[in-house]
Protein backbone atom coordinates (compact mmCIF):
# COMPACT_ATOMS: atom_id res chain seq x y z
CA UNK A 1 0.00 0.00 0.00
CA UNK A 2 1.20 3.51 -0.72
CA UNK A 3 2.02 5.72 2.23
CA UNK A 4 -1.23 6.78 3.99
CA UNK A 5 -0.20 10.42 3.57
CA UNK A 6 -0.07 9.94 -0.18
CA UNK A 7 -3.45 8.21 -0.25
CA UNK A 8 -5.13 10.87 1.88
CA UNK A 9 -3.66 13.64 -0.25
CA UNK A 10 -6.39 12.72 -2.73
CA UNK A 11 -8.76 14.60 -0.44
CA UNK A 12 -7.12 17.83 -1.56
CA UNK A 13 -9.26 17.62 -4.70
CA UNK A 14 -12.35 18.51 -2.69
CA UNK A 15 -13.28 22.15 -2.47
CA UNK A 16 -14.94 23.65 0.57
CA UNK A 17 -18.20 25.56 0.25
CA UNK A 18 -17.67 27.37 3.57
CA UNK A 19 -16.48 30.97 3.47
CA UNK A 20 -15.21 33.29 6.17
CA UNK A 21 -18.38 35.35 5.89
CA UNK A 22 -20.38 32.18 6.75
CA UNK A 23 -18.34 31.96 9.93
CA UNK A 24 -18.79 35.66 10.74
CA UNK A 25 -22.56 35.45 10.30
CA UNK A 26 -22.89 32.41 12.53
CA UNK A 27 -24.04 32.56 16.15
CA UNK A 28 -21.98 30.00 18.02
CA UNK A 29 -23.79 27.32 20.00
CA UNK A 30 -22.71 25.62 23.23
CA UNK A 31 -19.09 24.46 23.59
CA UNK A 32 -18.20 21.23 21.80
CA UNK A 33 -18.58 18.09 23.93
CA UNK A 34 -15.44 16.85 25.66
CA UNK A 35 -14.53 13.30 24.66
CA UNK A 36 -14.71 10.75 27.44
CA UNK A 37 -11.98 8.30 28.29
CA UNK A 38 -14.21 5.95 30.21
CA UNK A 39 -14.66 3.46 27.38
CA UNK A 40 -12.04 1.03 28.55
CA UNK A 41 -13.14 0.99 32.17
CA UNK A 42 -16.74 0.76 31.07
CA UNK A 43 -15.89 -2.24 28.89
CA UNK A 44 -14.13 -3.99 31.74
CA UNK A 45 -16.96 -3.16 34.11
CA UNK A 46 -19.45 -4.60 31.61
CA UNK A 47 -17.32 -7.73 31.26
CA UNK A 48 -17.29 -8.25 35.00
CA UNK A 49 -20.99 -7.46 35.22
CA UNK A 50 -21.76 -10.05 32.53
CA UNK A 51 -19.63 -12.58 34.42
CA UNK A 52 -21.50 -11.85 37.64
CA UNK A 53 -24.87 -12.06 35.86
CA UNK A 54 -23.87 -15.42 34.38
CA UNK A 55 -23.00 -16.76 37.81
CA UNK A 56 -26.27 -15.49 39.18
CA UNK A 57 -28.21 -17.25 36.41
CA UNK A 58 -26.35 -20.47 37.10
CA UNK A 59 -27.08 -20.19 40.78
CA UNK A 60 -30.75 -19.57 40.08
CA UNK A 61 -30.95 -22.41 37.57
CA UNK A 62 -29.18 -25.09 39.56
CA UNK A 63 -29.49 -24.12 43.19
CA UNK A 64 -32.63 -22.10 43.67
CA UNK A 65 -34.96 -23.61 41.10
CA UNK A 66 -34.95 -27.44 41.44
CA UNK A 67 -38.09 -27.51 43.50
CA UNK A 68 -40.11 -25.44 41.06
CA UNK A 69 -41.44 -21.98 41.63
CA UNK A 70 -41.70 -21.12 45.27
CA UNK A 71 -42.21 -17.89 47.07
CA UNK A 72 -38.68 -17.24 48.31
CA UNK A 73 -39.00 -13.52 48.60
CA UNK A 74 -36.71 -11.11 46.79
CA UNK A 75 -33.30 -12.40 45.72
CA UNK A 76 -30.52 -10.01 46.52
CA UNK A 77 -28.33 -9.44 43.47
CA UNK A 78 -24.66 -9.19 44.38
CA UNK A 79 -22.95 -6.20 42.88
CA UNK A 80 -20.29 -7.14 40.33
CA UNK A 81 -16.79 -6.90 41.78
CA UNK A 82 -15.12 -3.57 41.17
CA UNK A 83 -12.08 -4.18 38.97
CA UNK A 84 -8.80 -2.72 40.07
CA UNK A 85 -6.46 -1.11 37.59
CA UNK A 86 -2.89 -2.38 37.38
CA UNK A 87 -0.24 0.06 36.25
CA UNK A 88 3.41 -0.05 37.23
CA UNK A 89 6.60 1.82 36.34
CA UNK A 90 8.17 -1.63 36.01
CA UNK A 91 5.93 -2.89 33.22
CA UNK A 92 4.82 -1.48 29.86
CA UNK A 93 1.33 -2.98 30.21
CA UNK A 94 -1.80 -2.15 32.10
CA UNK A 95 -4.94 -4.18 32.83
CA UNK A 96 -7.98 -4.47 35.05
CA UNK A 97 -8.29 -7.34 37.53
CA UNK A 98 -10.72 -8.38 40.29
CA UNK A 99 -10.20 -6.98 43.77
CA UNK A 100 -8.87 -9.64 46.11
CA UNK A 101 -6.61 -11.26 43.51
CA UNK A 102 -2.81 -11.28 43.96
CA UNK A 103 -0.38 -9.60 41.59
CA UNK A 104 3.41 -9.89 41.33
CA UNK A 105 5.93 -8.90 38.68
CA UNK A 106 9.20 -10.72 38.03
CA UNK A 107 12.09 -9.67 35.83
CA UNK A 108 14.88 -11.98 34.68
CA UNK A 109 17.64 -10.39 32.61
CA UNK A 110 21.32 -11.12 32.24
CA UNK A 111 23.85 -10.65 29.42
CA UNK A 112 24.34 -14.44 29.32
CA UNK A 113 20.66 -15.19 28.70
CA UNK A 114 19.39 -16.09 25.25
CA UNK A 115 16.22 -14.14 26.04
CA UNK A 116 15.25 -11.97 28.96
CA UNK A 117 11.87 -12.03 30.63
CA UNK A 118 9.38 -9.72 32.28
CA UNK A 119 6.25 -11.33 33.70
CA UNK A 120 3.30 -10.18 35.76
CA UNK A 121 1.32 -12.92 37.50
CA UNK A 122 -2.29 -12.35 38.58
CA UNK A 123 -4.03 -15.11 40.55
CA UNK A 124 -7.14 -15.74 42.61
CA UNK A 125 -5.09 -16.80 45.64
CA UNK A 126 -1.87 -16.00 47.51
CA UNK A 127 1.21 -16.34 45.33
CA UNK A 128 4.26 -18.36 46.41
CA UNK A 129 7.62 -16.58 46.40
CA UNK A 130 8.79 -17.85 43.03
CA UNK A 131 5.42 -17.50 41.28
CA UNK A 132 6.94 -15.43 38.48
CA UNK A 133 9.27 -18.27 37.50
CA UNK A 134 6.52 -20.48 36.18
CA UNK A 135 4.33 -20.65 33.14
CA UNK A 136 2.15 -23.48 31.86
CA UNK A 137 3.98 -26.56 30.61
CA UNK A 138 7.22 -25.38 32.19
CA UNK A 139 9.24 -27.67 34.45
CA UNK A 140 8.27 -27.22 38.07
CA UNK A 141 5.16 -25.20 37.30
CA UNK A 142 3.30 -27.39 39.81
CA UNK A 143 4.95 -25.31 42.53
CA UNK A 144 2.55 -22.53 41.57
CA UNK A 145 -0.46 -24.67 40.64
CA UNK A 146 -0.17 -26.71 43.86
CA UNK A 147 -0.03 -23.54 45.92
CA UNK A 148 -3.25 -22.27 44.31
CA UNK A 149 -5.04 -25.63 44.37
CA UNK A 150 -7.43 -27.09 41.82
CA UNK A 151 -9.68 -24.02 41.91
CA UNK A 152 -6.80 -21.74 40.93
CA UNK A 153 -7.07 -19.16 38.17
CA UNK A 154 -3.99 -17.37 36.85
CA UNK A 155 -3.37 -14.73 34.22
CA UNK A 156 0.19 -14.21 33.03
CA UNK A 157 1.28 -11.12 31.11
CA UNK A 158 4.77 -11.66 29.86
CA UNK A 159 7.36 -10.45 27.45
CA UNK A 160 10.48 -12.32 26.40
CA UNK A 161 12.89 -9.90 24.83
CA UNK A 162 16.26 -9.77 23.13
CA UNK A 163 18.19 -6.67 22.17
CA UNK A 164 17.80 -5.08 18.74
CA UNK A 165 14.80 -7.20 17.82
CA UNK A 166 12.72 -6.05 14.88
CA UNK A 167 9.62 -3.94 15.33
CA UNK A 168 6.32 -5.48 14.43
CA UNK A 169 4.29 -8.58 14.97
CA UNK A 170 0.64 -9.34 14.67
CA UNK A 171 -1.84 -9.70 17.50
CA UNK A 172 -3.22 -13.25 17.64
CA UNK A 173 -5.45 -15.42 19.71
CA UNK A 174 -6.68 -16.33 22.13
CA UNK A 175 -6.38 -19.88 20.81
CA UNK A 176 -8.20 -22.90 22.23
CA UNK A 177 -7.42 -24.16 25.73
CA UNK A 178 -4.63 -26.75 25.83
CA UNK A 179 -3.61 -29.23 28.51
CA UNK A 180 -0.77 -28.41 30.86
CA UNK A 181 1.30 -31.60 30.89
CA UNK A 182 3.16 -30.54 34.03
CA UNK A 183 0.05 -29.91 36.13
CA UNK A 184 -2.65 -32.54 35.47
CA UNK A 185 -6.09 -31.09 34.95
CA UNK A 186 -4.86 -27.53 34.39
CA UNK A 187 -5.45 -25.91 31.02
CA UNK A 188 -4.23 -22.72 29.40
CA UNK A 189 -4.74 -20.52 26.37
CA UNK A 190 -2.60 -17.75 24.99
CA UNK A 191 -2.95 -14.55 23.02
CA UNK A 192 -0.41 -12.05 21.70
CA UNK A 193 -0.77 -8.29 21.76
CA UNK A 194 1.44 -6.06 19.66
CA UNK A 195 1.16 -2.31 20.04
CA UNK A 196 3.68 0.30 19.00
CA UNK A 197 7.12 -1.28 19.16
CA UNK A 198 6.22 -3.85 21.83
CA UNK A 199 4.69 -7.31 21.72
CA UNK A 200 3.70 -9.33 24.76
CA UNK A 201 1.80 -12.51 25.61
CA UNK A 202 -1.24 -12.97 27.80
CA UNK A 203 -2.05 -16.42 29.15
CA UNK A 204 -5.13 -17.64 31.01
CA UNK A 205 -4.17 -20.68 33.10
CA UNK A 206 -6.95 -22.48 34.95
CA UNK A 207 -7.19 -25.27 37.50
CA UNK A 208 -9.50 -28.26 36.96
CA UNK A 209 -12.05 -27.04 39.50
CA UNK A 210 -11.93 -23.32 38.80
CA UNK A 211 -15.27 -21.64 39.46
CA UNK A 212 -17.20 -20.15 36.56
CA UNK A 213 -16.87 -16.77 38.22
CA UNK A 214 -13.07 -16.97 38.37
CA UNK A 215 -12.89 -18.37 34.86
CA UNK A 216 -14.87 -15.37 33.59
CA UNK A 217 -12.78 -12.99 35.70
CA UNK A 218 -9.56 -14.43 34.27
CA UNK A 219 -10.94 -14.05 30.74
CA UNK A 220 -11.96 -10.44 31.41
CA UNK A 221 -8.56 -9.68 32.94
CA UNK A 222 -6.73 -11.19 29.96
CA UNK A 223 -8.91 -9.28 27.50
CA UNK A 224 -8.22 -6.01 29.28
CA UNK A 225 -4.42 -6.06 28.89
CA UNK A 226 -3.16 -3.06 26.92
CA UNK A 227 0.07 -1.26 26.26
CA UNK A 228 0.39 1.35 29.00
CA UNK A 229 0.63 4.98 28.06
CA UNK A 230 4.42 4.93 27.97
CA UNK A 231 6.36 7.37 25.83
CA UNK A 232 9.62 5.52 26.26
CA UNK A 233 10.32 2.09 27.66
CA UNK A 234 13.78 0.68 28.38
CA UNK A 235 14.87 -2.93 28.83
CA UNK A 236 18.34 -3.67 30.18
CA UNK A 237 20.36 -6.73 31.09
CA UNK A 238 22.93 -4.57 32.87
CA UNK A 239 25.32 -4.60 29.92
CA UNK A 240 23.16 -3.22 27.14
CA UNK A 241 19.91 -1.30 27.15
CA UNK A 242 17.19 -1.26 24.51
CA UNK A 243 15.09 1.87 24.36
CA UNK A 244 11.60 1.71 22.85
CA UNK A 245 10.21 5.07 21.82
CA UNK A 246 6.46 4.69 21.51
CA UNK A 247 5.87 8.23 20.28
CA UNK A 248 8.43 8.19 17.51
CA UNK A 249 8.18 4.45 16.88
CA UNK A 250 11.77 3.28 16.94
CA UNK A 251 14.02 1.15 19.09
CA UNK A 252 17.75 1.41 19.69
CA UNK A 253 20.20 -0.69 21.70
CA UNK A 254 23.25 0.86 23.36
CA UNK A 255 25.80 0.18 26.10
CA UNK A 256 24.03 0.47 29.45
CA UNK A 257 26.36 3.28 30.58
CA UNK A 258 25.40 5.55 27.67
CA UNK A 259 22.90 8.30 28.34
CA UNK A 260 19.90 9.17 26.15
CA UNK A 261 18.61 12.71 26.51
CA UNK A 262 15.04 12.93 27.74
CA UNK A 263 14.44 16.17 25.83
CA UNK A 264 15.46 17.67 22.50
CA UNK A 265 19.00 19.03 22.69
CA UNK A 266 18.84 21.10 19.51
CA UNK A 267 16.91 24.22 20.33
CA UNK A 268 17.42 25.88 16.95
CA UNK A 269 15.68 23.62 14.49
CA UNK A 270 12.29 21.92 14.67
CA UNK A 271 12.42 20.40 11.18
CA UNK A 272 13.97 17.91 10.73
CA UNK A 273 12.66 16.85 14.11
CA UNK A 274 15.04 15.39 16.67
CA UNK A 275 13.96 11.92 17.81
CA UNK A 276 17.08 10.63 19.60
CA UNK A 277 20.13 12.13 21.26
CA UNK A 278 22.42 9.54 22.83
CA UNK A 279 25.98 9.86 24.09
CA UNK A 280 28.66 8.55 26.39
CA UNK A 281 28.28 11.75 28.45
CA UNK A 282 25.36 13.83 29.81
CA UNK A 283 23.87 15.97 27.07
CA UNK A 284 23.21 19.66 27.65
CA UNK A 285 20.39 21.04 25.52
CA UNK A 286 20.81 24.28 23.62
CA UNK A 287 23.94 26.22 22.86
CA UNK A 288 24.99 28.56 20.13
CA UNK A 289 25.10 27.21 16.63
CA UNK A 290 28.54 25.92 15.76
CA UNK A 291 29.20 25.84 12.03
CA UNK A 292 25.97 24.11 11.16
CA UNK A 293 22.95 25.51 12.95
CA UNK A 294 21.29 22.10 12.73
CA UNK A 295 23.79 20.73 15.23
CA UNK A 296 23.21 20.65 18.99
CA UNK A 297 25.80 23.23 20.04
CA UNK A 298 26.34 22.42 23.72
CA UNK A 299 26.45 18.68 23.10
CA UNK A 300 29.12 19.09 20.43
CA UNK A 301 31.18 21.43 22.61
CA UNK A 302 31.02 19.02 25.56
CA UNK A 303 32.22 16.05 23.52
CA UNK A 304 35.56 14.86 24.97
CA UNK A 305 38.38 12.82 23.37
CA UNK A 306 36.87 9.48 24.44
CA UNK A 307 33.27 10.46 23.83
CA UNK A 308 30.71 9.47 21.23
CA UNK A 309 27.53 11.33 20.32
CA UNK A 310 24.74 9.92 18.16
CA UNK A 311 21.99 12.29 17.15
CA UNK A 312 19.02 11.22 15.04
CA UNK A 313 16.34 13.36 13.46
CA UNK A 314 13.49 12.73 11.07
CA UNK A 315 12.20 14.54 7.99
CA UNK A 316 8.98 13.38 6.35
CA UNK A 317 8.62 10.26 4.28
CA UNK A 318 12.21 10.22 3.03
CA UNK A 319 11.37 10.87 -0.63
CA UNK A 320 14.72 11.20 -2.37
CA UNK A 321 16.65 9.64 0.50
CA UNK A 322 18.85 6.64 -0.34
CA UNK A 323 17.85 3.25 1.05
CA UNK A 324 19.31 2.24 4.38
CA UNK A 325 22.52 0.28 3.80
CA UNK A 326 22.93 -3.19 5.28
CA UNK A 327 25.47 -1.92 7.81
CA UNK A 328 26.01 1.59 9.09
CA UNK A 329 29.77 1.73 9.49
CA UNK A 330 32.58 3.52 7.66
CA UNK A 331 33.19 1.82 4.36
CA UNK A 332 34.29 2.39 0.78
CA UNK A 333 32.83 3.69 -1.37
CA UNK A 334 31.33 6.59 0.53
CA UNK A 335 29.83 8.23 -2.52
CA UNK A 336 26.25 8.16 -1.24
CA UNK A 337 25.05 10.04 1.80
CA UNK A 338 23.66 6.89 3.37
CA UNK A 339 27.27 5.72 3.81
CA UNK A 340 29.83 6.73 6.39
CA UNK A 341 33.18 7.76 4.97
CA UNK A 342 36.25 6.16 6.53
CA UNK A 343 38.14 9.36 7.29
CA UNK A 344 35.85 12.16 8.41
CA UNK A 345 37.16 15.42 9.71
CA UNK A 346 35.99 17.89 12.28
CA UNK A 347 35.60 20.62 9.72
CA UNK A 348 31.88 20.01 9.44
CA UNK A 349 31.23 20.89 13.06
CA UNK A 350 33.86 23.59 13.42
CA UNK A 351 35.28 22.14 16.63
CA UNK A 352 38.85 20.82 16.60
CA UNK A 353 39.40 17.28 17.84
CA UNK A 354 36.02 15.94 16.78
CA UNK A 355 35.48 13.45 14.02
CA UNK A 356 32.04 13.82 12.57
CA UNK A 357 29.77 12.15 10.03
CA UNK A 358 26.41 13.14 8.59
CA UNK A 359 24.29 10.57 6.82
CA UNK A 360 20.74 10.15 5.67
CA UNK A 361 18.63 7.20 4.61
CA UNK A 362 15.07 6.02 4.17
CA UNK A 363 13.70 3.35 6.46
CA UNK A 364 10.09 2.22 7.02
CA UNK A 365 8.87 5.07 4.83
CA UNK A 366 10.63 7.66 6.96
CA UNK A 367 13.47 10.04 6.16
CA UNK A 368 16.21 9.67 8.78
CA UNK A 369 19.22 11.89 9.38
CA UNK A 370 22.03 10.69 11.65
CA UNK A 371 24.92 12.71 13.01
CA UNK A 372 27.81 10.86 14.64
CA UNK A 373 30.44 12.79 16.56
CA UNK A 374 33.49 11.08 18.02
CA UNK A 375 36.50 12.28 20.01
CA UNK A 376 39.95 11.56 18.58
CA UNK A 377 40.82 8.85 21.11
CA UNK A 378 37.48 7.13 20.61
CA UNK A 379 38.05 7.28 16.86
CA UNK A 380 41.54 5.80 17.23
CA UNK A 381 40.28 2.87 19.30
CA UNK A 382 38.53 0.43 16.91
CA UNK A 383 36.70 -1.38 19.73
CA UNK A 384 35.28 1.87 21.08
CA UNK A 385 34.38 3.19 17.65
CA UNK A 386 32.64 -0.12 16.96
CA UNK A 387 30.23 0.63 19.81
CA UNK A 388 28.90 3.53 17.75
CA UNK A 389 28.42 1.43 14.61
CA UNK A 390 26.66 -1.26 16.65
CA UNK A 391 24.28 1.38 18.03
CA UNK A 392 23.52 2.63 14.51
CA UNK A 393 22.90 -0.90 13.26
CA UNK A 394 20.54 -1.55 16.17
CA UNK A 395 18.20 1.28 15.13
CA UNK A 396 14.83 -0.16 14.10
CA UNK A 397 12.05 2.07 12.80
CA UNK A 398 8.34 1.37 12.56
CA UNK A 399 6.09 3.01 9.96
CA UNK A 400 4.34 6.19 11.07
Amino acid sequence: MADPRTILRDLDRLDTPVSWSDVRRRTPGPPPPEPRRTGRLLGIGVAFAIAAAGILLLVRAFVLSPGGPTNRGPISVPAPPTPLSFTSPNTPWTFEYPSGWSVATTRRADPSFMANMLRTVVANGPLPDRAGDFGPNSGGDSELTSALGDSGAVVLVERFWVHAAGIGGEPRGPGPFARDAQSPGWTFRERARCEGTLCFHVIEWLGPKVSDEDRAAAAATAASVRLADVERWTETDGERTTLHDEDDLFTVTYPAAWIPSDRPINTWVSSPREILALATYPLRPGGEAVTDFQLPGNAVEDLGPDDILIWVSEAGTGDGFPARPEHLEPSEPCDEWSRLCPEPTGQAVGVPGIRAWWLGFRDAGRGIYVFVGMGERAYADPARAQLAWDVLDSLRFGPR
Binding site: M1, P4, R5, I7, L8, R9, D10, L11, D12, R13, L14, D15, T16, P17, V18, W20, D22, V23, R24, R26, T27, P28, G29, P31, P32, P33, E34, P35, R36, R37, G39, E195, G196, R226, L227, A228, D229, V230, E231, E246, D247, L249, P399, R400
Partner: protein, 154 residues
Protein backbone atom coordinates in the same frame (compact mmCIF):
# COMPACT_ATOMS: atom_id res chain seq x y z
CA UNK B 1 -11.74 40.25 21.08
CA UNK B 2 -9.15 42.35 19.34
CA UNK B 3 -9.17 42.89 15.60
CA UNK B 4 -5.71 41.30 15.61
CA UNK B 5 -7.15 38.08 16.98
CA UNK B 6 -9.94 38.15 14.43
CA UNK B 7 -7.45 38.73 11.63
CA UNK B 8 -5.34 35.84 12.92
CA UNK B 9 -8.37 33.57 12.88
CA UNK B 10 -9.27 34.68 9.39
CA UNK B 11 -5.72 33.90 8.26
CA UNK B 12 -6.02 30.51 9.95
CA UNK B 13 -9.29 29.95 8.09
CA UNK B 14 -7.60 30.78 4.80
CA UNK B 15 -4.63 28.57 5.55
CA UNK B 16 -6.26 25.59 7.22
CA UNK B 17 -9.98 25.81 6.48
CA UNK B 18 -9.90 23.69 3.36
CA UNK B 19 -7.85 20.96 4.99
CA UNK B 20 -10.06 20.91 8.06
CA UNK B 21 -13.19 20.69 5.91
CA UNK B 22 -11.76 17.91 3.75
CA UNK B 23 -10.72 15.93 6.81
CA UNK B 24 -14.19 16.40 8.26
CA UNK B 25 -15.82 15.21 5.03
CA UNK B 26 -13.62 12.12 5.13
CA UNK B 27 -14.38 11.63 8.81
CA UNK B 28 -18.15 12.08 8.60
CA UNK B 29 -18.86 11.17 4.97
CA UNK B 30 -21.28 14.07 4.96
CA UNK B 31 -20.50 17.46 3.43
CA UNK B 32 -23.23 19.21 5.40
CA UNK B 33 -21.99 17.90 8.73
CA UNK B 34 -18.45 18.85 7.73
CA UNK B 35 -19.45 22.38 6.71
CA UNK B 36 -21.52 22.88 9.83
CA UNK B 37 -18.81 21.55 12.16
CA UNK B 38 -16.08 23.67 10.63
CA UNK B 39 -18.12 26.88 10.59
CA UNK B 40 -19.22 26.26 14.17
CA UNK B 41 -15.65 25.59 15.34
CA UNK B 42 -14.40 28.84 13.82
CA UNK B 43 -17.43 30.75 15.13
CA UNK B 44 -16.72 29.46 18.63
CA UNK B 45 -13.06 30.39 18.26
CA UNK B 46 -14.15 33.90 17.28
CA UNK B 47 -16.41 34.09 20.33
CA UNK B 48 -13.58 33.01 22.64
CA UNK B 49 -11.08 35.35 21.07
CA UNK B 50 -7.93 35.81 23.12
CA UNK B 51 -8.79 32.97 25.52
CA UNK B 52 -7.44 30.47 23.02
CA UNK B 53 -3.69 30.01 23.18
CA UNK B 54 -3.24 27.69 20.20
CA UNK B 55 -6.05 28.49 17.76
CA UNK B 56 -5.03 25.99 15.08
CA UNK B 57 -5.13 22.96 17.34
CA UNK B 58 -8.18 24.31 19.14
CA UNK B 59 -10.15 24.61 15.89
CA UNK B 60 -9.15 21.13 14.68
CA UNK B 61 -10.15 19.68 18.03
CA UNK B 62 -13.43 21.58 18.26
CA UNK B 63 -14.39 20.76 14.67
CA UNK B 64 -13.81 17.03 15.16
CA UNK B 65 -15.70 17.00 18.43
CA UNK B 66 -18.64 18.91 16.98
CA UNK B 67 -18.68 16.60 13.95
CA UNK B 68 -18.55 13.50 16.14
CA UNK B 69 -21.47 14.75 18.22
CA UNK B 70 -23.45 15.77 15.16
CA UNK B 71 -22.80 12.47 13.47
CA UNK B 72 -23.97 10.56 16.49
CA UNK B 73 -27.26 12.43 16.71
CA UNK B 74 -27.90 12.54 12.94
CA UNK B 75 -27.04 9.13 11.66
CA UNK B 76 -27.91 6.47 14.21
CA UNK B 77 -28.32 3.28 12.24
CA UNK B 78 -27.52 4.92 8.91
CA UNK B 79 -24.52 3.91 6.80
CA UNK B 80 -21.80 6.51 6.96
CA UNK B 81 -21.39 7.22 3.27
CA UNK B 82 -24.65 6.32 1.63
CA UNK B 83 -25.02 9.42 -0.48
CA UNK B 84 -21.61 10.85 -1.18
CA UNK B 85 -21.10 9.41 -4.65
CA UNK B 86 -23.04 11.95 -6.66
CA UNK B 87 -21.76 14.91 -4.70
CA UNK B 88 -18.05 14.37 -4.93
CA UNK B 89 -15.76 14.09 -7.90
CA UNK B 90 -14.12 10.70 -8.35
CA UNK B 91 -11.97 9.32 -6.88
CA UNK B 92 -12.21 11.02 -3.45
CA UNK B 93 -15.69 9.53 -3.05
CA UNK B 94 -14.13 6.06 -3.26
CA UNK B 95 -11.58 7.04 -0.67
CA UNK B 96 -14.25 8.52 1.59
CA UNK B 97 -16.36 5.39 1.16
CA UNK B 98 -13.39 3.21 2.12
CA UNK B 99 -12.64 5.35 5.13
CA UNK B 100 -16.31 4.99 6.04
CA UNK B 101 -15.72 1.27 6.54
CA UNK B 102 -13.22 1.98 9.29
CA UNK B 103 -14.35 2.61 12.84
CA UNK B 104 -14.78 6.32 13.70
CA UNK B 105 -11.72 6.21 15.96
CA UNK B 106 -9.56 4.54 13.32
CA UNK B 107 -10.78 7.12 10.81
CA UNK B 108 -10.11 10.05 13.11
CA UNK B 109 -6.64 8.72 13.97
CA UNK B 110 -5.68 8.27 10.31
CA UNK B 111 -6.96 11.67 9.27
CA UNK B 112 -5.55 13.64 12.18
CA UNK B 113 -2.17 11.91 12.07
CA UNK B 114 -1.56 11.27 8.38
CA UNK B 115 -3.56 14.12 6.84
CA UNK B 116 -3.48 16.87 9.47
CA UNK B 117 0.02 15.93 10.65
CA UNK B 118 -0.61 15.74 14.39
CA UNK B 119 1.52 13.50 16.60
CA UNK B 120 -0.14 10.52 18.23
CA UNK B 121 -0.09 12.37 21.54
CA UNK B 122 -1.86 15.36 20.02
CA UNK B 123 -4.38 13.10 18.28
CA UNK B 124 -5.03 11.51 21.68
CA UNK B 125 -5.78 14.92 23.14
CA UNK B 126 -8.18 15.70 20.31
CA UNK B 127 -10.14 12.45 20.37
CA UNK B 128 -9.86 11.92 24.12
CA UNK B 129 -7.70 8.84 24.44
CA UNK B 130 -4.11 7.92 25.15
CA UNK B 131 -1.29 8.09 22.60
CA UNK B 132 -0.93 4.32 22.90
CA UNK B 133 -4.59 3.81 22.02
CA UNK B 134 -4.22 6.14 19.05
CA UNK B 135 -1.30 4.06 17.81
CA UNK B 136 -3.46 0.95 18.04
CA UNK B 137 -6.23 2.64 16.04
CA UNK B 138 -3.66 3.85 13.51
CA UNK B 139 -2.19 0.41 13.10
CA UNK B 140 -5.58 -1.27 12.75
CA UNK B 141 -6.87 1.49 10.47
CA UNK B 142 -3.86 1.23 8.15
CA UNK B 143 -4.25 -2.54 7.93
CA UNK B 144 -7.96 -2.26 7.19
CA UNK B 145 -7.43 0.49 4.61
CA UNK B 146 -4.74 -1.59 2.95
CA UNK B 147 -7.10 -4.56 2.65
CA UNK B 148 -9.85 -2.33 1.26
CA UNK B 149 -7.50 -0.78 -1.28
CA UNK B 150 -6.24 -4.20 -2.35
CA UNK B 151 -9.84 -5.34 -2.69
CA UNK B 152 -10.65 -2.37 -4.91
CA UNK B 153 -7.56 -2.83 -7.04
CA UNK B 154 -6.22 0.50 -5.79
Amino acid sequence: MTSETESALERLFEAEGKRIWRALVAYTGDRDVASDAMAEAFAQALARGDEIRSPERWVWRAAFRIAAGELKSRSRGRPLVDDVGYEMPEPPSDLVAMLGKLSPRQRAALLLHHYAGYSTREVGEIVGSSAATVRVHLSQGRRRLKRLLEGSGG
